[in-house]
Symmetry: C4
Subunit: 209 residues, 4 copies
Amino acid sequence: MADQAANTRGTERLEAFSDGVFAIAITLLILDIHVPDFKENETLMHSLSHEWPSIIALLIGFFTILICWINHHYMFTMIRQSNSKLLFINGFKLLIVTITPFATALLSRHMETGWGPSAITTYAFNFALMGIAMTCVWCYAHFMGFTKGTSTEVLTATTRLYIFASLFSITIVIVSYFSIAAWLILFFIMFLIFVFPEKIVAWQLERRP
Amino acid sequence: MADQAANTRGTERLEAFSDGVFAIAITLLILDIHVPDFKENETLMHSLSHEWPSIIALLIGFFTILICWINHHYMFTMIRQSNSKLLFINGFKLLIVTITPFATALLSRHMETGWGPSAITTYAFNFALMGIAMTCVWCYAHFMGFTKGTSTEVLTATTRLYIFASLFSITIVIVSYFSIAAWLILFFIMFLIFVFPEKIVAWQLERRP
Amino acid sequence: MADQAANTRGTERLEAFSDGVFAIAITLLILDIHVPDFKENETLMHSLSHEWPSIIALLIGFFTILICWINHHYMFTMIRQSNSKLLFINGFKLLIVTITPFATALLSRHMETGWGPSAITTYAFNFALMGIAMTCVWCYAHFMGFTKGTSTEVLTATTRLYIFASLFSITIVIVSYFSIAAWLILFFIMFLIFVFPEKIVAWQLERRP
Amino acid sequence: MADQAANTRGTERLEAFSDGVFAIAITLLILDIHVPDFKENETLMHSLSHEWPSIIALLIGFFTILICWINHHYMFTMIRQSNSKLLFINGFKLLIVTITPFATALLSRHMETGWGPSAITTYAFNFALMGIAMTCVWCYAHFMGFTKGTSTEVLTATTRLYIFASLFSITIVIVSYFSIAAWLILFFIMFLIFVFPEKIVAWQLERRP
């Protein structure tokens, strides 16, 4: 009887609520790009070109949230059950997602001021928290056995991938203290790895006989 | 024939619409944290640290809405039917959810001004309305028999839990008049209880033979 | 073959997209209530009480969109198919829904200025367009036979209800020119009728043998 | 085994996330229409009439996103599988959707300033990117065979339609440099064609024996 109350449930609403938060956070990013005022002696294109830090920040923010959503989606093709603890851990992840537009605005506003390096480190820190939250969601669900129906090899490869996500994103924070160029390169590598998580998992499986 | 028109329906769209409102309200909270302007003689971290009332208010608001969503989700794993009255009562609950970003902004802006205690009481009052709305949704659905398929013991334990939610959140309003420390402690206890509603229900069932 | 391309589809995505628009429009209303600045010689409650036009406008806007959603939900328990034309007519309805926060803001800002009566008429006009759009959605779907599986009596009673919705909401616009008190009363009556559409339909069916 | 990890999935979440982004972008448009301040010697209607560039821009932006959604919906009645690459290409499309409220705001603010022609070209450019993204989504899904279960004739006609969408929207950008009147006419023709994609596909099929 206690079982009946504490039993696990499907993940439909967790996914729907998460999709909502992802969709809103990703759309709010545009609110930070301001429509320039008309100036007699300047073209619109020229005026918009002054906004380049905002535009770069928008693209970084957009692809951060998009890739985060792609991985969330990937995980939940394997996670088929949920309980309140998973909702709460996922909620922590969504907190980081809602903070991302703020970290992006910080980057956009201060990329060119004296606070540029701090803004980049703050963004990297937010990104690392996102990676860690992602790892927590996956590891908890995997540990609780909510991923039934997928082969052990795939689960192990996925676990390895998401532990790597945490470690790599923490490394990025540390690197961002020393070199912005190195930060950008590592960031781009991380994007390339996590935009197609299923390929990385498939590649791991092919390497092992 | 009248039956056919007035018959009850599923809860899919009620859940989808509610998820949308929860997701937007929880994401709007970040709009209240302002990007600080660059100051020559201050670091970004130092400047952000002045924003601590906003950050604390964001966290309180975020976890209030998250826990509210977790409980909404929990209820609707048992509620399987709906009618227009339930949609309307649920709508009242959503009204309180949409007001929460305003109550949070009030808390954020006035935590340190002379209106601090009033802002806290207003927040507690909004929180109590949320608890009461939650109780109304559950009790109406339970009373109408929309919770078929769940054992009576679980239903009774859940009803007890949500009546307790109303009473406890009303107590918190009263306490908030007298002591902010006591308010914070009670608030935190309420969070701990309602973050895992299924555990509390299971625990009640285990205690009774 | 032409058939296969032009065939009708389900209404899941139409409902999901509409739910999203309803949820955002209803949550945006709160952005119009401003957090008052601290004043030494005034309490928070007193200061918030100056915001009463905003609060009344928020409640009117909230219940307008909620009732609109309840009726949309009611219709689509019977409408089971869609085509591009229905998506477009429903899109017109959603246009009115997205304009509602603007009409509400107009009401909130000018309820007490010299533009009060015009703001009320504008709101009533927006409300009438909503009623008319609702009627169009229903009548088109009914005419195209997308409502299969529901008895003719229920369909006829529903058609009657939504034609009445258009006529009554147009009447309200005209009345709003002459008397604000009469406007408020008619508005409230319309709310009472359309909050429980299924009851009105059931009541019509009971009256006829 | 590698197959199991890299296999394709359904499109439910892709559609839900896209619906969220479409719904938010379409609702944010209204935030750009400002409530006018009270002026003693002017009526509300007269004052709102000064806002006509904002209102026209709102309508253009609204119907752009709506028609984009209608076509997304149409495509995904045929696309039944997805992989990470499709999620990414669809993500690029959503990026353009989130930029649309900015392009609309640009149009609204500068329709009457000296930047009018540039604002129109920028809007047309954004619109062309949307058309191209749409074509990419369709062509990739079609090429990968995610559209199983639909007859080859329908698929070919749809492919033709969406390649035409790209070409026509690029033409509109070029025309917008030379004549605003011609731009408006082509824009309106494009709306008429893409508001009912299924009709155009059916019409193509009927013409060929």
